[in-house]
Amino acid sequence: MSDSTAIAHSAHDAPEHGHEEHPAYLRHHFENVEQQADAAGFAMWLFLLTEVMFFGGLFTAYLIYRNWYYPAFVAASHQLDIFWGSLNTLLLISSSFTMAMGVWCAETRKKSGLVLCLVLTFILGIGFLGIKTIEYKEKIEKHHVPGFHYSLNSFLNPDSDEAAKKAGDQPLPLDMARHTEVYFSLYFAMTGMHALHMIIGIAILGFMIYRAQAGAYTAGHVTFVENFGLYWHFVDIVWIFLFPLLYLISRHANT
């Protein structure tokens, strides 16, 4: 990803390296602007493929362990609240939409529109993390975080647990109940890595809002905004798969 800082200060030195005139943001080693944009987009996609493989490993682990310890995974997933999961999906899809609109604003050189879209994306991203915090807090309070303080109570005595009771869970045998810890390990690994990507994205968004106000992305060079858009949509796609796998597919599986 090349940043567009070049626009701001290299207007005066452009003629130096030019037999012919070209935009200041065109780097020496590219034939033309189009080739530069293609190369940047290609590189961004290669990076996203490494990300696909990374999250793919976690998804595969989840599928295999769910297959092995099915009753534990069903009971453990009943501890998640579909309401918060759906709301988070809504926030993330909306943020993807505002990001896409931001790319459009950059392409059509609408500076205030771009800043507005980036700010909205930023706020929706923060909102997502806020809801994730509420969910994590509940897990911590119920001792569902894997480790020394992990509690099997919700799975050995489902009647004592509101969420388990509502889902109609039966008590699990001790050895199976212990495997709920595997579910929560994967839950925290997957949503935690996803949240880390969100945090990185939000940090870059903050930087972009600052640069966009200076007009950096609305002077024809949109590569940075475009490639960040790809990253943001990718993070959205990861959640699109996490949401059904973690929250939805075990709703009815204990009858």
């Binding site: 005139e21 070209h22 935009p23 065109l26 033309n32 602007v33 189009e34 944009a37 293609d38 987009g41 290609f42 996609w45 290669l46 996203l48 493929l49 696909v52 493989m53 793919g56 998804f59 595969t60 599928l63 295999i64 297959n67 579909i82 759906s86 999906t89 809504l90 899809i93 909306s94 993807s96 939409f97 990001m99 896409a100 609109m101 459009w104 392409e107 059509t108 024809g220 475009e226 858009g229 790809l230 949509h233 990718f234 959205d236 796609i237 699109i240 798969f241 949401f243 059904p244 796998l245 929250y247 939805l248 597919i249 709703r251 009815h252 599986a253 009858t255």
Partner: protein, 105 residues
């Protein structure tokens, strides 16, 4: 300068806000659908429906929000290769784990 810029802009497809709005609406509908489907008892088809809807949503995002539909052949090939490799790896891994204990019980 103008020459380069015009060439760039003629090659570069700008997706319209109307398309984005339609895609956004479709994503919301599919989200409502997948949440609704999870409350309906369908046995083995519950996870299948959920994954299917997730795949459709992901495909819409990749094609329109990520501009793959309007991208160069190189980008399309890259995305396809990545997807293919991912599915091959996940397929081989699952085939291994599923068949590992065959005949041993």
């Amino acid at each position: 300068m103008t020459d380069q810029k015009e060439m760039h802009e003629s090659q570069h497809h700008i997706v319209s806000p109307v398309t984005y709005a339609i895609v956004f609406g479709a994503l919301l509908v599919f989200t409502a659908l997948t949440v609704g489907a999870s409350y309906v008892e369908m046995g083995i088809f519950n996870p299948i429906a959920a994954i299917l809807i997730a795949c459709i949503k992901a495909m819409i995002v990749v094609l329109f929000f990520m501009h793959v539909k309007y991208s160069s052949k190189l980008t399309k090939l890259t995305v396809f290769c990545g997807l293919f490799t991912f599915l091959a790896l996940i397929g081989m891994t699952l085939a291994d784990y599923i068949s590992r204990a065959w005949g041993q019980w």
